[in-house]
Symmetry: C2
């Protein structure tokens, strides 16, 4: 389950309004066949992705040629070799039972002949829940509450969505010694991840100073995605309108002194440093800190604040740590 | 192999002059039975620890009552249930063949009936090497060079020991925003790890300013271990001799302006901040940075330097990243 959790955290911030879910499949002897996480909304759920990867591990050469989640679902459901018979699947969240953008995962688990389902969290979504009961009725052994607290934490943004309140995370990039200024801090791989987050959020908040000095576009061109609406926090309303962020078609830009506008949006990323951190303190659910592996001279953030680390992910040049604000 | 590597890095700096090694055992069906790393010098090698843990997973209730590595070796060698027959073992380093403080691991692998050995690095120690050839002769399938570069990097301190040169690592504790001053930074768990490192090193280097302001003991009382010899880097030779570090029985303390004394020692930790970092720049093989999850106001390190991250480990409150100095 901890491997499934780790895999899921790699895609934290990329799957809203779906929960990010991790899944791991063992064959009937206990050998790991696959570890996977939720893809983008409307794409493969973690269970489907894990089953796909497991079949590829077992030699399937057809499934990866299929384009959509529904095609993959249909293929697996009609796939009668039962290669996953008596396998086990760990899932951080109870498998869904509803036909949304993708068919239900519970049907898939049942049809593949899984012997055991090991779950972390129970689905709080009434429409999608019931997967456990359905699978128990079908004769699958179900074990629940494994690393439940960690699995519950993983899907905090999804719970906020369910409870109809905005979820706010603060993204910060620092050098190894805590410097935030002086140009690009993180690697291309990390910046691509931030663009993927921008493609998933619906509102981006940034400070007026940063807009004036960096003249950013604030889109998600590195992943070919959308440009979210932008809130610039600034007392001075005049900006050079040739700054690229103002010229993105279909985007709304607000220039305001406070964060009230956030309540009209659902999944919000604040990209900032010290001043915005101080101003947004009471609004922020989570912090996502990218740390480079360089020491550089420059300005560092000077505030007193305690966090709780949730998960630390390492890519080639940087570490990315998610924290819960206290 | 990457799980074995990760497990080994958790004990980096604690096993010198032995290499830190990671091992993972799969049963004949591919199910993970255990993941383990080298214990302290003279205690269990990674292979022995992994076999012990695997037997416990399989229901053995006797082995954990045995006190020494030799007793465990003898027990496993006389253990004829062959519960690990046809299992596979991943090891970051070729198993040893020599009778040192512990009996050879290759014999253990052969006797247990392992079908496959998967190795990262080849043992550069002529006295201990030959495990692969021996096991191939005994009919074990041996696969080599898996994640070899990463496995080689893991045992850099051991290679320095083999080549008869000192290995120097710089330990630094920072708040999440890079602040190094203002009292204790890291958690008790992390400080206990630092004490275990002090118990393993033979020389500790510290700055005169820190000695004067913190009045440290610089021992390893949190793990009941030894107090290494200390080098205080200082132009001013006068210190208040009531500072606890001077009163540790059997310890040598040197107060010098340079690092020349290092060449008389083998495994050296520098505990410092900005000034010592600048002075020791050309001497340091690796950096070990402890990051807390608090933001605090204070002094931050102001230098320009690039690192290569080697591994990031997370404990409950902190992250610990090992970097190679460039």
């Amino acid at each position: 389950m901890s491997l499934a959790l780790k895999e899921a955290w790699k895609r934290q911030g990329l799957t809203y309004p779906n929960p990010v879910v991790g899944a791991l499949i063992l064959d009937k002897h206990g050998k790991i066949l696959s570890i996977a996480a939720t893809q983008a909304a409307g794409k493969e759920h973690a269970e489907l992705k894990a089953i796909e990867e497991a079949l590829i591990t077992l030699g399937d050469t057809h499934i990866s040629s299929l384009q959509t989640a529904s095609q993959k679902h249909a293929y697996i459901l009609s796939y009668h070799d039962r290669q996953l018979k008596d396998a086990s699947i760990y899932v951080t969240l109870e498998p869904c039972t509803h036909h949304g953008k993708t068919p239900p995962c519970s049907l898939l688990i049942k049809n593949c002949g899984f012997k055991t389902l090991i779950c972390g969290s129970i689905d709080p979504n009434q429409e999608a829940s019931g997967g456990i009961i359905q699978l128990e009725k079908a004769g699958v052994t179900v074990i629940t509450d494994i690393l439940k607290a960690d699995c519950d934490t993983l899907m905090t943004p999804f719970k906020a969505w369910q409870e109809n309140r905005p979820f706010v995370f603060f993204k910060l990039a620092l050098s190894a010694n805590g410097v935030y200024d002086g140009g690009t801090i993180t690697s291309l791989e990390s910046r691509t991840l931030v663009h993927a987050m921008r493609d998933n959020i619906d509102f981006l908040v940034i400070g007026g100073e940063t807009v004036r000095s960096d003249r950013p576009t604030l889109d998600s061109r590195l992943v070919g995605g959308k440009a979210p609406d932008v809130l610039i926090i600034s007392r001075h309303k005049e900006f050079d309108r040739s700054i690229p962020l103002f010229s993105v078609a279909g985007r709304k830009v607000f220039i305001e002194e406070n964060f009230d506008r956030i309540k009209n949006y659902r999944f919000i990323m604040i990209e900032g440093t010290q001043s915005l951190m101080k101003l947004s303190d009471s609004l922020v659910d989570w912090y996502c800190i990218f740390n480079s592996s360089s020491y550089k001279k420059g300005k560092t953030i000077q505030i007193d604040k305690n966090f709780t680390p949730l998960q630390c992910i390492q890519n080639k040049h940087n570490t990315i740590t998610w924290y819960k604000g206290i």
